[in-house]
C-alpha cells in the first residue's frame, strides 16, 4: 500500500499522526461506552446518545484517514522487525481499518433493520440502510458485539506490540507515531 518511502523519514506525517491519535481517542472512548452501556440501567440512555453519533463520526474519520494514508509517504519499518513481523503488522493494520469501517456500518445497519430512528443530535437523524427485519437485526446485533470484542483484542495486540518494541526492544517504534516531532538521532 505504500506509495513511496523517503529514506530519511523516521515518522509518519503530521496529518497521519493526527488521524492516528484522533482515531485512538475516539475508538477507546467508544469501546468503553459500548461495554458500559449494555450493562447499565441508569446511564444507558445517556451513553447510547453519545454512542450513535460518535460511531458515525468514527466512520467518517476512518474513511478520510484511509484515503490520506494512501497518498502519504510512510517511514520504513524498524530494522529490528523481521519480514514476518512486518507482514503481520501490515495485515493487522489493514484488519483494524476493516473493523473500524465495518463496525459502524453494522451498528447503523442493525438500527435500520430494527426500524429505530437513528438519531444523531436533536432532530438530525440518519436514513435506514437496510430493510426492516427483526431477524436481520438479531444477527447484526450479535455481530456488533463480536466485532467490538475483536476490535478490542486487536487494539490490545497492537498496543502490546508497540509497548514491547519500544520498551523491551528499545527500537524507537513508538516515536514513529509519537504525537510530537521526533528528530532523527
Amino acid at each position: 500500500m505504500s506509495m513511496s518511502v523517503a529514506s530519511e523519514q523516521r515518522q509518519f506525517t503530521t496529518l497521519m499522526r493526527f488521524f492516528h491519535w484522533l482515531t485512538a481517542a475516539m475508538v477507546l472512548t467508544m469501546l468503553g461506552i459500548g461495554v458500559a452501556m449494555v450493562a447499565s440501567l441508569a446511564d444507558y440512555h445517556r451513553l447510547v446518545s453519545i454512542h450513535r453519533p460518535l460511531g458515525i463520526l468514527i466512520l467518517i474519520v476512518v474513511v478520510i484517514r484511509f484515503v490520506n494514508r494512501h497518498y502519504s509517504a510512510l517511514p520504513p519499518f524498524p530494522t529490528t522487525m523481521s519480514p514476518r513481523e512486518r507482514s503481520v503488522a501490515s495485515a493487522s493494520e489493514l484488519f483494524l481499518y476493516a473493523l473500524l469501517v465495518v463496525q459502524p456500518l453494522v451498528g447503523w445497519g442493525m438500527l435500520s433493520a430494527a426500524r429505530y430512528p437513528i438519531v444523531l443530535y436533536g432532530s438530525i437523524h440518519l436514513f435506514p440502510i437496510l430493510p426492516q427485519s427483526v431477524m436481520l437485526y438479531a444477527v447484526l446485533r450479535r455481530a456488533h458485539t463480536v466485532l467490538a470484542y475483536l476490535l478490542f483484542l486487536t487494539f490490545l495486540a497492537h498496543f502490546g506490540a508497540v509497548l514491547f518494541h519500544t520498551w523491551v526492544m528499545r527500537d524507537g517504534t513508538f516515536s514513529r507515531m509519537a504525537p510530537w516531532k521526533v528528530r532523527a538521532q
Binding site: L31, G32, V35, A36, M37, V38, A39, S40, L41, A42, D43, Y44, H45, R46, V48, A114, R115, Y116, P117, G122, S123, H125, Q132, V134, M135, Y137, A138, V139, R141, R142, F152, L156, F159, G160, L163, F164, W167, V168
Partner: protein, 352 residues
C-alpha cells in the same frame, strides 16, 4: 543484570496490557456480578413468567392497532414537536396485558398497556408506552425488579409467597401509598373505555427553547363502564375479543391530555401524583380504527421505547426512563432472534 532489566520490562508490558483489559472489563460490569443490568432484568422476567419464544418479556399478550392522531394545535404552546402542529399523523399501537405470559387468561385486574408510535412527516417518531394505572407502584428500577422477584409464584401453590410480598411492602412505603391511589379508582370494563397514563414526567421544549415538566394521558371518549358491572367470561381472550368487536363497530377515540407541571413538582418519582388542579391541555384526538393479530401487525416488531422522542420532548431525571429503555431494548433483542410462536389472539379471531 541486563537480563533482569529485560525481564522487568517484559513483565511491565504484560501488566500494562492486562491493566487495560481489566479496565475494559470493569466498565462492562464484569467485577460486579450482582448489579442489576438490563440482561439480569430480562432474566428476572424469564425466571418468573417463563420464556415464550418470540414474545416480549413483559406485556407479552397483545394485539396490534393502527389509526391516526389529529392534533388541534394547542400543544404547540407547550412543545415544538411536529406531532402537535395542527394536522394528522399516522399511529401504530398495541394493546397488551402486563406480565410475561402471552397466553394469560384475560381479566379486568391485569394491568392494561397501550403502546403508541406517532410518525411525524419529517421522519421523527414519538413512542410511548402507557398503562391504565394512575400512578406507577414503584419509584426505582430496583424496586420494580424486587417486586417482580417477590411475586414469583411458588411452584407448589402457584401463588406468590405472601411473606415475601409483605417484606417488600414493608421496605417500600411508597408502593403502599401508590397502591391506595390506584385502588381508589374503579377499573373500567375493557380496553376501549380505559384511560392510559404515561406516568413518568418528561420535559416539553417550545420553539423559544423554554422547558416545562409534563405528564400525559389518553382519556377515552368511549363512556366509562365499571368492570364489576360486567360479568367476567370464561373465554381466555374475552377482553381482547370485546376490543376487536368494539373497534370493528366504530373507531375508538381518546383525548391526548397534557398535564402541565409547576416548579417543585416531582419529575423523578412516578409513584407520586402531581397535586390536583394542574393545568390540563387537550392537544388532540387519537383515533384507532384498525385492529389485527400480532402475527400480521407491524406492532409486533416495534419496541415501544419511551425514549424515542422527537425534538421538542426530552427525558426527565426519572430513573425509570433510562432503565425502561435499556430493558425494552434487551427484551427486543432477545425476541428478535427467536422463532415466533402464534399469538393468543390469532388472525382468524380478528376476522370473526
Amino acid at each position: 543484570m541486563a537480563d533482569t532489566r529485560h525481564f522487568g520490562r517484559l513483565a511491565g508490558t504484560a501488566i500494562v496490557v492486562l491493566g487495560v483489559a481489566g479496565a475494559f472489563l470493569y466498565l462492562g460490569g464484569w467485577f460486579n456480578p450482582t448489579a442489576l443490568t438490563p440482561a439480569r432484568f430480562a432474566d428476572g422476567f424469564e425466571r418468573v413468567d417463563g420464556i415464550y419464544s418470540g414474545f416480549r418479556r413483559n406485556h407479552a399478550k397483545g394485539v396490534g392497532v393502527s389509526g391516526f392522531f389529529q392534533s388541534n394545535g394547542q400543544g404547540t404552546h407547550l412543545s415544538k414537536a411536529v406531532v402537535f402542529q395542527a394536522g394528522r399523523v399516522p399511529v401504530i399501537g398495541r394493546f397488551s396485558f402486563g406480565g410475561g405470559d402471552p397466553y394469560v387468561a384475560d381479566a379486568p385486574n391485569l394491568v392494561r398497556g397501550l403502546g403508541l408510535l406517532f410518525r411525524q412527516p419529517d421522519g421523527e417518531e414519538w413512542r410511548t408506552a402507557m398503562i391504565n394505572l394512575t400512578v406507577f407502584p414503584f419509584k426505582t428500577p430496583q424496586a420494580f425488579f424486587d417486586n417482580l422477584i417477590a411475586s414469583q409464584p411458588d411452584p407448589q401453590t402457584h401463588k406468590a409467597d405472601p411473606q415475601k410480598m409483605e417484606a417488600f411492602l414493608a421496605r417500600h412505603p411508597e408502593t403502599v401509598q401508590a397502591m391506595k391511589i390506584i385502588q381508589s379508582h374503579s377499573v373500567s370494563s375493557g380496553f376501549d373505555n380505559s384511560a392510559y397514563y404515561g406516568l413518568i414526567a418528561f420535559w416539553f421544549v417550545d420553539a423559544s427553547g423554554t422547558s416545562i415538566p409534563v405528564r400525559w394521558s389518553m382519556v377515552p371518549l368511549q363512556p366509562f363502564v365499571a368492570a364489576d358491572a360486567v360479568a367476567a367470561q370464561g373465554d381466555k381472550n374475552y377482553l381482547f375479543d370485546a376490543l376487536i368487536a368494539s373497534i370493528v363497530q366504530h373507531p375508538l377515540q381518546w383525548h391526548l391530555m397534557i398535564t402541565v407541571g409547576q416548579p417543585g413538582d416531582v419529575t423523578d418519582d412516578a409513584s407520586i401524583p402531581w397535586p390536583d388542579g394542574r393545568e390540563q391541555v387537550d392537544v388532540g384526538t387519537l383515533t384507532l380504527d384498525h385492529v389485527e393479530s400480532e402475527e400480521t401487525s407491524p406492532a409486533r416488531d416495534i419496541n415501544f421505547d419511551p425514549l424515542v422522542l422527537p425534538a421538542g420532548m426530552a427525558p426527565s431525571n426519572d430513573p425509570l426512563l433510562s432503565a425502561r429503555s435499556a430493558v425494552y431494548s434487551q427484551s427486543f433483542t432477545r425476541r428478535a432472534g427467536e422463532k415466533k410462536l402464534p399469538s393468543a389472539v390469532t388472525p382468524s379471531d380478528v376476522r370473526k
